[in-house]
């Protein structure tokens, strides 16, 4: 391995500073005792975190987002695992079309999906329903699960499965006892990635949420456009903490670089 020169390392430090600066400033300002967005120069305070937990709108949106992400990630797995099996194990007419259809939400801007869902829901009278919100998030996060499932299936040694079949296991038993455990890391990684993507989603949700189904990012966006106080920093710091925790779990279990880099 060749070493990086001093100029390369300086460049690297500047890039790191650029990447971390907005996140660090949020985490610092969140602890301010003042009433304005300022660095905590006169000691640290938890008052803005307390304010968040006492704020009914933020708490309602937080739980909304948690349930939304849980349901949509689970549904995404339910769609992606059989679809992944069909796409990777069989050749059949329409296979390429199906693959493109399932991955299409990745190349359709969320803005466009948002207005498209809004139009559909206005026509069928589904605006403001939580179940339909789950459906929209399922569409957006399924491709992330599918890619990891496809990657897991293609990296699989099929001889174990064939051995099970030869020894008399039915196709279903072979899947349940042999294939499924082997692709479980891919499925779990996909579920977590789907959860995070749903939990963070703003652009599409802003079109399809109603006052009773507002998600946390949408609530934060509305709050940021109306008022400027350190409560926003406290919520943001909590979001960073949750994401960092999920990232650590993902990284320990599967290697985050593998999940994020290996997916394309």
């Amino acid at each position: 391995m060749h070493k990086n020169g001093p100029i390369a390392l300086l460049f690297h430090i500047l890039v790191l500073t650029f990447v971390l600066a907005p996140l660090v400033i949020i985490c610092l300002v969140a602890f301010t005792p003042e009433n304005t967005l300022s660095l905590p120069t006169n000691g640290l305070s938890l008052r803005w975190f307390k304010a968040v937990f006492a704020h009914p709108d933020f708490m309602a949106s937080f739980w909304n987002s948690i349930w939304l992400a849980t349901f949509s990630a689970t549904l995404a797995v339910a769609f992606a695992v059989p679809a992944g099996l069909a796409i990777s194990r069989y050749t059949f007419p329409g296979r390429d079309f199906l693959n493109a259809l399932f991955l299409s939400p990745l190349i359709i801007p969320h803005l466009v999906l948002g207005v498209a869902f809004l139009r559909l829901f206005a026509l069928i009278g589904a605006t403001g329903s939580f179940s339909w919100l789950v459906a929209t998030h399922t569409i957006i996060v399924t491709p992330y699960v599918l890619r990891l499932v496809l990657a897991a299936l293609s990296g699989l040694d099929r001889s174990a499965e064939q051995a099970a079949r030869t020894l008399g296991a039915s196709e279903w038993t072979a899947f349940r006892r042999v294939t499924a455990p082997m692709i479980l890391p891919g499925i779990t990684g996909g579920w977590l990635l789907a959860f995070i993507n749903s939990f963070d989603e703003l652009t599409m949700s802003i079109f399809v949420t109603s006052p009773s189904t507002v998600t946390l990012p949408v609530r934060m966006y509305m709050y940021a456009t109306e008022s400027i106080d350190p409560m926003m920093a406290a919520v943001s710091a909590l979001m960073i903490a949750i994401t960092a925790a999920a990232m650590l779990v993902l990284d320990r279990a599967f290697g985050l670089d593998r999940i994020l880099v290996g997916q394309r």
């Binding site: 391995m1 996140l23 069989y90 801007p109 207005v115 498209a116 652009t203 394309r264």
Partner: protein, 286 residues
Amino acid sequence: MISRSPTISIPWLLAGPGALFFAGLVLLPLALTLILSFHAYDHSTGIQNTFTLSHYIAVVTDDYYLEIFWRTLRIAALTTLLCAVIGVPEAYILSRMKDPWRSVFLLVIIGPLLVSVVVRTFGWSMLLGSQGLVNQALQLFGFPSVRILYTETAIVIALVHVMLPFMVIPVWTALQKLDPMVEAAAWTLGASHFTALRRVVMPQVTLGMLSGSLIVFGLSASAFAVPALLGGRRLKMAATLVYDEYLQELNWPLGATIAIIVLVANLCIMLAYNRMVEARARRTLG
């Protein structure tokens, strides 16, 4: 589905429910939006049941919309360029690091991808505000404070921050496929470091960079949170324009028209990319 051979029915049984779900919630809403963009609109009575091309004509002839499209393209292009200038060398530097550091820094660079865009944009609004850290630093060194927030500069800075991982990831992936010994071999054979970089590393990196550029350009051109929070009322981009037409002006057909234009532009970029990758693959395979 009735079929003669089980090889057709099993995959469709497996993928069928998902396919129906996706057809109903991707293809159908997009088709409805396309139709909506041709509906006439009246400010007092709303969406009319007559069809017209007037929204498309309005969007491509009115200076107000053209300026917003032009700004969107300009900002997206500048963001892509800066992401390449920062992301490609950074991915190269990362690939030359030794292991605990390499994994740690790769996580630091691509990890923010998982932090909500609202959060990251909010962070930049604090850094770039008139009393923000950037301006305080400028004053400390005796420079006059500058107005960054609510300018295109602020939008570009935050977009580069949001998009950087999308540039680093494909370049990193491309570099992983490059055996470091090949570069060393070039040196041994008398090539200068610069020549080795240009003739050995760059060709490998180019495809990753192109792939990253297209993703970054597409995502920047349709970005919503960054221009909405850092651009203010005046500096609109395509996505914030669609948002305003839908939720402020309530002119859904016009909003649908702009959304369709954004979608078509995005699909064209992706199609061009696929062509390019295929052509390149054909060339290298001979």
